[in-house]
């Protein structure tokens, strides 16, 4: 690692708290148009945050109804038809309208320019357009879901979706098609920004790992999304115009759809999780006051995941009628893609070694992420292994596995990110006690929800069943009980974060004493992020040297500590 760092004796004293500027991005105009026509990446990030919170709520309600229905073997509250629409609504809304845009569109928009010391993203108007395109697509989807629903599952497998379903498949698919463009715009914007707009001294090797993660994500968004867009167009052409593409009765091939769909949708899983990994690297270093263990390994494993992730799509199709040898090949490649994720987990754990660890809410969410993501990752190996996948495929084992990765991994990383950057985004601190309580409740509720589903899956309970044989009931009740706790856990941040906006303490510029450039700007930040051109002097995680990336001494971190000891902590270990 060639990271240059300032020698301890040259460190300036702790810079004074920057004065709150008269104009920050929040009070720079109050009208509704000042938000709807803004090209400020921070405001667009907030627009995304508000919309995504709404969609997460819709998807969460659908999930709640699904779990409630499964309380009874005969289906407690919904008919088959209603249930099918409900789990589809849950999947479509959560995947296309929450998970895929979540961290890139909210945190990426807001913090990529700030972390690399830029004024804005490379294409601010394109950025605003991406939000409008997203909302138009989301409008189609939400309309499709509310006006009667879709009953195909989010995977939209033809010929069911193209020739047999009598529900709103076309507007739903069209909505997904449109939101894809938003994803491409955001990816393009972040990639161009990282390439061209880094502040002086911000070399690739000094870039925070969050930027590396989003760079890898943008790569997937740019290369993968067009494929699913074409696939959805073909599906709509078959459905609307009756041109045979996927339906064998019209000379099509149903497996062609699955290949094209998973060619995007497997990498899309990495669009969802890799940004979360970036967040974890930021937080775990800050709250253990350590350099990241193996910067290059963590950075390049993100890129490795993005590249190898494109070569494993057929592992969703081991029992779908692909040839024997292609099953072997894809199983083997999937084993390879599991390695970089394992590397990351070990590196994060090693980062804690000899740290000075405190447990504020962002750190608790991060630790929960590490446990849940590890379980989610290793259970993926059962599905990558051919001999076990031929039984576990399409059972609740799969459901539990991807919820561990998507919710235990991604949603917890998203929660961690919100709690970490909330003071910067809003200028307010939230309740320390309630945020820690929420992290704990979510962790416990999550385990209780999804661990029983592994047992159900091992015993063969298929997914997408509104009713089931009676012997599966006990574990379903456990899972629904867990989901209630989980729901409560999600409700808590909704309340205390909202309250913090009105009653929260004013946040200092750098409440966590973190090293990133975004903390050099006051909270909430200036309209143009920085009043000066930041000149980056050292790598991103010099906590043991107690300097930020500008080479300035860090303020006192929160948490227990001895008074007047800060100045003595600059020794190189």
């Amino acid at each position: 690692m060639s990271t240059a760092y300032a020698e301890p004796q040259t460190i300036a004293p702790v810079p004074p708290e920057p004065e709150a500027p008269p104009r920050n991005y929040l009070n720079n105009g109050y009208g509704i148009l000042s938000w709807l026509l803004t090209v400020d990446h921070k405001r667009i990030g907030i627009l995304y945050l508000v919309s995504l919170t709404a969609f997460f709520t819709v998807g969460g309600i659908a999930a709640g109804l699904v779990r409630l229905n499964l309380l009874s073997p005969d289906g407690a509250i919904l008919t088959e038809d209603q249930y099918n629409r409900m789990f589809t609504a849950h999947g479509v809304v959560m995947l296309f309208l929450f998970l895929i845009p979540s961290i890139p569109a909210v945190m990426g928009n807001f913090f990529i320019p700030m972390m690399i010391g830029a004024k804005d993203l490379a294409f601010p108007k394109l950025n605003l357009a991406s939000w409008y395109v997203f909302m138009i697509g989301a409008g189609f989807m939400v309309w499709a879901v509310l006006a009667g629903g879709i009953d195909t599952g989010w995977t939209l497998y033809p010929p069911y979706s193209s020739r047999f379903s009598h529900t709103n498949v076309t507007p739903g698919a069209f909505g997904a098609f449109i939101t894809g463009f938003s994803s491409i715009m955001t990816g393009l914007n972040i990639m161009a920004t990282i390439h061209k707009m880094r502040a002086p001294g911000m070399t690739w090797g000094r870039m925070p790992l969050f930027c590396w993660a989003l760079y890898a994500t943008s790569f997937i968004q740019l290369l993968g999304t067009p494929v699913v867009a074409i696939t959805l167009v073909l599906l709509m052409v078959e459905r609307v115009a009756g041109v045979g593409v996927f339906d064998p009765a019209m000379g099509g091939d149903p497996l062609l759809f699955q290949h094209l769909f998973w060619f995007y949708s497997h990498p899309a899983v990495y669009i969802m999780i890799v940004p979360g990994m970036g967040v974890i690297s930021e937080i775990i270093t800050c709250f253990s006051r350590k350099n990241i263990f193996g910067y290059k390994a963590v950075a390049w494993s993100s890129v490795g995941i993005a590249v190898v992730g494109f070569l494993v799509w057929s592992h969703h199709m081991f029992v779908a009628g692909i040839s024997y040898y292609s099953a072997l090949l894809f199983s083997f490649l999937t084993m390879l893609v599991a390695v970089p994720s394992a590397i990351k987990v070990f590196n994060w754990t090693a980062t804690l070694y000899r740290g000075s660890i405190t447990f504020q809410a962002p750190m608790l969410f991060t630790l929960a992420f590490l446990v849940l993501f590890t379980v989610g990752g290793v259970t993926g190996l059962f599905l990558a292994t051919l001999g076990t996948d031929i039984h576990l495929h399409d059972t609740y084992f799969v459901v539990a596995h991807f919820h561990f990765v998507m919710v235990g991994g991604m949603v917890l990383a998203y929660m961690a990110a919100i709690h970490f950057w909330w003071p910067k985004m809003t200028g307010r601190m939230y309740s320390d006690f309630w945020s820690r309580a929420s992290a704990t409740v979510i962790f416990v509720g999550f385990f209780l929800t999804f661990v029983p589903q592994f047992v159900l899956g091992y015993h063969g309970m298929p997914r997408r069943y509104p009713n089931y044989p009676a012997e599966f009931q006990v574990y379903n009740i456990l899972s629904t009980a867990g989901a209630s706790i989980l729901g409560l856990g999600y409700l808590m941040p909704g309340i205390y974060l909202t309250l913090s906006l009105f009653f929260g303490e004013k946040a200092p510029a750098n409440p966590w004493s973190a090293t990133g450039l975004e903390w050099a700007s006051p909270s909430p930040p200036h309209v143009f992020n920085f009043e000066f051109v930041p000149v980056v002097k050292c790598g991103p995680y010099e906590y043991s040297l107690n300097v930020d990336q500008l080479g300035r001494t860090l303020p006192e971190p929160p948490g227990p500590m001895a008074p007047n000891t800060l100045k003595e902590t600059n020794g190189v270990g």
Binding site: M1, P159, F164, A320
Partner: protein, 363 residues
């Protein structure tokens, strides 16, 4: 409330191979997860900042040796999963050549099962909307113990998936294409049969039971309702559709009148030359395609005069029967057209001649 056993029911050779692999992965991944969790808990306890601590942390940037260690070790372990999994998979997907073949046709939302003897069963489905004939066939998927059977699947409409948890096997059932797997049940009992690929409204009602029974019970089951062998039924359809006006079913009669289409005798498994070059192996898939889409592959030396409307006239059920008939036409065997066709290989020898059957005179 019935409860699940600790270990899931096992009733086939593949299931017996699945379990050790499954628990081996459970063991390895549990140890791995435990190492991470113990690391997290230990570090979080030992290095938590206490009141009075100085915030002094060493500047550790990483270690190539450790990095290499935790890249290579997991990779090696993952590859053991891969190799063992490949072995189990290999045993699960290649049917033995001599196993009797059962046909399963998936349809929203039932499984129609055809045994080589002609015995038919319907599993799952909504009995309220069935025809009387279908309702009479509702039952379980019966299999003999300790005997491998090959099962070939096709779907009439959307993608389904035929999954039997106690056998630890499932396979997607695709429209327009035959796929096969095989089962080797080894424990008598009744087990769940699920549709595992979402297929529409009553997906969760496309379920039923698999019954593994003794050979004697299986023979009795085959005699229960059978009204002829599958190939014999295929012959009836072959005549009803008047395929034999062009395709003479044996070479003898073909020589008397000038044939307009190739003889189908002894065709199965051969390579036939195609118009425009190349050859095609005669398989189920090839015969099916030649019936529903006859212009796709035309045999060298013949004109593409076969009508293209059979797809609308022949159901998947009937197609499998016609294919069974064509498959049974061994070369050199003289088969009088008016005699009841003998059951094909794999059907029980003592199958009774169904009463009232008069062979080819049935409409």
């Amino acid at each position: 409330m019935t409860e699940l056993p600790g270990l899931a029911d096992r009733a086939s050779v593949v299931a017996d191979r699945f379990e050790p692999l499954f628990w081996y992965i459970v063991a390895c991944t549990s140890i791995g997860t435990l190492i991470v969790c113990v690391g997290l808990v230990a570090f979080c306890t030992m290095y938590r900042r206490k009141r009075g601590d100085t915030i002094s942390t060493p500047r550790i940037l990483g270690s190539h040796k450790l990095e290499l260690f935790w890249t290579v070790i997991p990779l090696i372990i993952f590859l053991t999963f891969f190799v063992w999994g490949m072995w189990v998979y290999d045993g699960a997907v290649h049917p033995p050549a001599d196993a009797p073949e059962i046909k399963v046709i998936g349809k929203q939302w039932m499984w129609k099962i055809q045994y080589p003897s002609g015995q038919r069963v319907i599993v799952g489905g909504n009995t309220d909307v069935m025809t009387d004939e279908e309702r009479n066939l509702v039952g379980a998927f019966v299999l003999p113990i300790d005997k491998p059977v090959k099962v070939t699947f096709i779907s009439e409409d959307v993608i389904h998936d035929f999954g039997i948890p106690a056998f630890r096997q499932k396979i997607d059932v695709i429209p327009g294409r035959y796929v096969s797997t095989w089962y080797h049940p080894n424990k008598i009992g009744e087990y769940h049969l699920f549709c595992d690929q979402y297929c529409g409204n009553l997906h969760s009602r496309m379920v039923g039971k698999v019954k593994v029974v003794s050979q004697d019970d299986f023979d009795a089951f085959l005699r229960e309702k059978a009204d002829g062998s599958l190939a014999w039924e295929g012959q009836q359809i072959f005549r009803k559709l008047q395929c034999n006006s062009c395709h003479t079913p044996n070479a003898q009669s073909g020589a008397k009148v000038h044939p307009r289409a190739p003889s189908l005798e002894g065709l199965w498994g051969r390579d036939v030359p195609l118009k425009g070059g190349g050859t095609a192996e005669v398989t189920e898939q090839y015969i099916r395609e030649s019936i529903v889409n006859p212009r796709a592959k035309v045999v060298e030396g013949w004109e593409p005069i076969m009508p293209g409307n059979y797809e609308s006239q022949v159901s998947e059920d009937d197609l499998t029967k016609v294919i069974a008939y064509i498959r049974s036409l061994k070369s050199g065997k003289q088969i009088p057209n008016n005699e009841k066709f003998p059951p094909p290989d794999g059907a029980p020898r003592d199958m009774k001649t169904p009463a009232g059957s008069t062979g080819g005179s049935k409409p």
